[in-house]
């Protein structure tokens, strides 16, 4: 919405209502078909020089006044328009009335334009100059190369009018309204039988309306998700998933780089036997070995020949020079046998542990084995490797990238779900989109759960 050059004011004519004598200001003189007197609510024939009374209606007590007062001037898409008419239209769904407001705008050179408002959601609309191409089943239409999906069809009754209208307005008159959406646009048909009027609306924020008409205060906050309200997340979801693809690619490159550049060097391996029958101190120390390179991890693997037994090893990786020790314990246990279900086994004969961030230096291991006493001899081998890549961090990296992207996608799908919940279908149309696929999956899951419960 931009401000254009100066636009001449429309030709304004002051008249008197033949019903009550109140003064009437007609801003679209020569264009208006009916004028409604704000005092007595008489609907007058604006094309009759004597302003013949067409009908009168009874306005309800405490009728909401228009949020944009008649006579206000605002600049929309670079053109100044005057608000000349206001009507409320109501549909009933399952007996519940839903009302929206329409504002008739007029510019003497550009003609008429319409603003609609429902629960704080605004649309800027105008009459279409050509008829859209409606699909045979009426589930969609095409207009200017764009596909619009059918959203809702209802009978809308005019329940309140005020000001000037370029058609013969009647309170209580009902027409069938069908909306087809392609956010942020909506194409609506309205009429009876074969006479249809097509119009297109584009979602516009209340803040922009307030700015255009220089209204005081803040626009009412929108409630819920409107039929053609653009999803605030849709574009973000696509961009974020594109980033996820790039980052996953970089992560794979990093994985290849780490696995090719890591030292992954065996620095120590020795085999021992633990005599569980022996008395006395079981702990011992190994020969010294050197850990080279920068501060990195150390992977210690224990392999034991076990037969329905366990061995627990208290390890201390001790820096010979600084006395800095890394203390940890590892159990290796393996059980197996047969029962009525066949062969079974538990545990493993091998266990690995990664000691984090060990600086370079000369180290030795203090090993203290334990097991059930009088279980014979348990042979085991201890292997130490330096700078071993940890695949788990890449897994965590993948999860860390997928989680927020998935959350964003879920929020976006939820937005679309809320939109389509208000449609005639109560759900997104089954058109192969991600949302319809997810909703179908959820429906079939609910169906199978319900089936299981029966």
């Amino acid at each position: 919405m931009t401000v254009g050059g100066p636009t001449p004011a429309p030709q304004v004519k002051s008249l008197n209502c033949p019903g009550c004598g109140a003064s009437l200001t007609v801003r679209s003189f020569g264009h208006a078909v009916t004028v409604v007197c704000a005092s007595c609510h008489a609907i007058l024939d604006a094309q009759d020089p004597r302003l013949k009374v067409l009908e009168k209606f009874q306005a309800a007590e405490g009728e909401d006044p228009p949020r944009i007062a008649l006579g206000s001037r605002g600049v929309i898409r670079g053109t100044a328009y005057d608000v000349i008419g206001f009507e409320r239209r109501t549909i009933r769904v399952d007996g519940v009335p839903y009302s929206w407001h329409e504002y008739v705008l007029f510019n003497p050179f550009k003609g008429f334009r319409y603003l609609t408002e429902y629960n704080g959601h605004w649309n800027d609309g105008s009459i279409l100059r050509s008829v859209p191409d409606v699909s045979p089943g009426g589930s969609s239409l095409r207009y200017l190369g764009e596909t619009y999906k059918q959203f809702q069809t209802a009978n809308a009754a005019t329940t309140f009018v005020l000001g000037e209208f370029p058609w013969r307005v009647r309170v209580g008159e009902s027409v069938t309204v069908s909306d087809y959406i392609s956010p942020p646009r909506v194409i609506s048909s309205e009429g009876t039988g074969k006479e249809l009027t097509w119009s297109m609306g584009e979602y516009i924020s209340g803040r922009d309306i307030w700015k255009a008409f220089q209204l005081e205060g803040e626009p009412p906050a929108p409630i819920g998700v409107y039929e053609n309200q653009p999803s605030p997340l849709r574009a973000d979801v696509k961009t974020v998933w594109a980033f996820v693809g790039v980052f996953l690619g970089l992560l794979v490159l990093l994985l290849v780089g780490v696995y090719s550049l890591a030292r992954d060097e065996q620095v120590f391996e020795e085999s021992y036997e633990f005599n569980t029958n022996a008395q006395g101190e079981a702990s011992f120390v190994t020969d010294t070995f050197e850990l080279k390179g920068h501060t990195s991890d150390v992977e210690l693997t224990t392999r034991a020949q076990l037969d329905n037994e366990w061995i627990y090893l208290n390890y201390a990786l001790i820096n010979q020079d600084t006395g800095h020790a890394y203390d940890f314990g590892r159990e290796v246990s393996y059980y197996h046998g047969y029962d009525e279900d066949g062969a079974w086994s538990e545990g493993s004969t091998q266990n690995s542990v990664t000691v984090p961030s060990v600086p370079p230096g000369n180290y030795y291991l203090r090993i203290e084995p334990e097991s059930d006493p009088k279980h014979g001899t348990i042979p085991y081998t201890v292997t130490v490797r330096r700078d071993v890549p940890q695949a788990g961090f890449f897994g965590l990296g993948v999860l860390a990238l997928l989680f927020p992207a998935g959350l964003l996608t879920w929020r976006s799908l939820n937005f679309e779900h809320l939109r389509w919940a208000e449609s005639d279908y109560g759900a997104a149309p089954d058109d192969g989109s991600l949302l319809s696929t997810v909703e179908n999956a959820v429906d079939s899951l609910k169906g199978s759960i319900a089936g299981d419960d029966q």
Binding site: F247, A325, Y326, F328, T354, G392, F394, G397
Partner: protein, 61 residues
């Protein structure tokens, strides 16, 4: 706004993974003990392991 935040977040994830790999981080629990006396080499039994009182699983069916 969200894509920009995600761009920063994704770069932080890549940096964190790179740093974790370079520094050799691990998810295993290891206790660090300072100033272990050199005499442990000659008398291993004098060292008291943090895990010395571990409750052992003696599984099987």
């Amino acid at each position: 706004m969200i894509p920009r935040l995600f761009l920063i977040y994704g770069m932080a994830v890549l940096l964190a993974v790179s740093f974790a790999e370079y520094r050799g981080w691990s998810l295993n629990r290891v206790d660090e003990v300072l100033n272990v006396p050199k005499s442990v080499r000659d008398n291993p039994g004098s060292y008291r392991s943090v895990y010395g009182f571990y409750h052992h699983y003696t599984g099987g069916k």
